[in-house]
């Protein structure tokens, strides 16, 4: 019996459509004794699935289907409005390239900051620092401020830190799209290695070919609802049939 690493149960996530609500409006509504009119939509609705140890899962769906929201819920950035999510061990997300990188810090400082954000200890970062830099291939620029980096360099370093943080569960959102082909190949090799180590991967990408080659399992989201859960190539074929 495989060990569950991610357990998503009946998750609903609501977003409000209006954000520029002023304090005045709020007080007026409170004085009148009625709540502000509800203006929400469900980004996720009754989503349930489990991911076992060592599984590689692709979250698929067209724009606005709730993939990224789901990933953010799993990583803990967003809290679901209903249902529960439980994860096992350390979860690291590459939700967006270079989140947590500060442009005014050097590459070196950002490696430490980002490593610490992803839950690495000082010792772990010291030990893997050379490896991280070597993988990113930006040795010459490591003491340059990140704002002078090209987007490719930025991506390399960010990805490199994330894969070296050794999380039990690794969440990847649309990051393989950037970067040149040799680096993409290197990333894929690294992902294969993580798979081999039995780590759990959840990937979001619009590159359907890539996803169906990396992932065994695909979960299709449509308007916040899971409509298909099966082998990744089958789900991709289904999606293409809809287009």
């Amino acid at each position: 019996m495989a060990t569950t690493y991610i357990d998503v149960a009946d998750v609903r996530k609501e977003f409000s459509l209006r954000h520029n609500r002023s304090f005045k409006e709020f007080i007026v509504a409170a004085l009148r004794g009625k709540a502000l009119e509800k203006d929400t939509f469900n980004a996720l609705d009754n989503v349930s699935f489990t991911v076992d140890e060592g599984e590689t899962v692709a979250l698929l769906g067209f724009n606005g289907s709730g993939k990224s929201t789901l990933l953010k819920c799993i990583s803990g950035v967003l809290t679901p409005d209903a249902g529960s999510i439980r994860t096992r061990g350390r979860v690291a997300g590459l939700i967006e390239v270079g989140a947590g990188f500060h442009p005014d810090l050097t590459g070196r400082e950002n490696v430490y900051l980002n490593g610490a954000i992803l839950g690495m200890t000082e010792q772990q970062i010291n030990d893997t620092f050379d490896e991280i830099v070597a993988f990113s291939e930006i040795e010459r620029f490591i003491d340059t401020e990140v704002k002078f980096y090209s987007s490719g360099m930025f991506l390399r370093l960010a990805f490199s830190v994330a894969v070296h943080s050794e999380p039990e569960v690794f969440l990847v959102d649309e990051i393989l799209a950037v970067g040149d082909e040799p680096f993409q190949k290197k990333c894929l090799a690294k992902i294969e290695q993580l798979k081999g180590e039995g780590r759990t991967l959840v990937i979001v990408s619009h590159d359907l070919n890539l996803v169906s080659s990396i992932c065994k399992r695909g979960i299709l989201l449509e308007k916040g609802v899971v409509t298909m859960d099966g082998p990744a190539p089958d789900v991709v074929t289904h999606m293409r049939g809809q287009e």
Binding site: I85, G93, L105, G198
Partner: protein, 298 residues
């Protein structure tokens, strides 16, 4: 299965992502806290030639203005001996409060890109603001100590303890308020403006520029009691006791006849500490309640 991650380590338990233990989590992420503080300092002084020297310039100018207006023009120098040290020991408290509280209030909005994308204990940001405040406080404290030492400061143990207690009160109180207003600020940016107002008023509703006796003489007793319950007032009183009292030779009364120290100073300080701790609890409570929607509101 020998090369398996799970079998190498004991199997970690299932946890709910995004649910931390508040300020306790910050204690376990000290390394990250240190890096965030370093980042804040770096970002604050980027492209600035004077850099950290600004921490000396600002309070000294402020001190000069107050000294001239209140000490010389208004003549407070005559009734409060060694007025310069009296004034500066209160000013450093208020600067620390303003710095820590103001930055903590804005810290979550400033770090929106991080909060939006990666989960980490969000209490880290107000706490790092407090730390940055302390980094700016200690150089000023050094200036204060040198100034008061030259004018004859010879503190005893109790006076040094008063400093520690005074510092603790203002630190705990700023963190509590900072977490409360910082969390509210995510939803209503009005909080920022309100906080600026509070910081501006704070200097005047504590005995920083004038002697406590003026309040006692002009206020009814109940209002005086409320005035003394302000934790910042206790902090300022304790700082006066620590840095000013011995420099003027610990007299019972001042030249004008007023009693030098606040009656029941330690009791008021105890009450101030109690209120500050209560504020920290309230701040943490509200923070945890509002934290759930931080990422989508920022």
């Amino acid at each position: 299965m020998s090369d398996n991650v799970a079998s190498q380590l004991a199997l970690p338990p299932m946890t709910t992502p995004g649910s931390g233990r508040g300020l306790l989590d910050v204690l376990h992420r000290r390394f990250l806290l240190k890096l965030i503080v370093r980042k804040e300092l770096r970002v604050r002084y980027r492209g600035s030639a004077l850099g950290m020297a600004w921490t000396y310039v600002k309070p000294l100018v402020q001190f000069g203005v107050f000294f001239l207006a209140m000490g010389v023009f208004m003549g407070l120098r005559a009734t409060v001996p060694n007025y310069a040290v009296y004034l500066f020991s209160g000013v450093v408290v208020m600067n620390f409060f303003g710095e820590a509280f103001g930055n903590a209030t804005r810290s979550l909005v400033w770090n929106a890109p991080l909060i939006n994308k990666i989960y980490l204990p969000r209490e880290l940001f107000p706490v790092s603001s407090l730390w940055v405040g302390a980094v700016h406080f200690f150089p000023q404290l050094l200036v204060l100590i040198i100034a008061t030492f030259i004018t004859g400061w010879r503190p005893n143990i109790l006076e040094l303890l008063a400093f520690v207690l005074g510092f603790l009160i203002v630190a705990v109180f700023s963190l509590g308020l900072g977490m409360l207003f910082g969390a509210v600020n995510v939803y209503f940016r009005d909080a920022e403006n309100l906080v600026e107002l509070i910081i501006m008023v704070a200097t005047w509703i504590s005995p920083v520029l004038y002697h406590w006796n003026l309040v006692y003489n002009n206020f009814p007793v109940w209002l005086y009691n409320i005035y003394m319950l302000n934790p910042l007032t206790s902090s300022v009183n304790l700082f006066h006791y620590a840095f000013w009292y011995s420099s003027i030779g610990r007299p019972v009364t001042l030249p004008g006849g007023a009693q030098t120290l606040v009656p029941d100073m330690w009791a008021w300080a105890g009450a101030g500490l109690g209120i500050a701790v209560a504020m920290l609890f309230i701040g943490q409570l509200v923070f945890r309640k509002l934290e759930r929607r931080f990422a989508q509101e920022l």
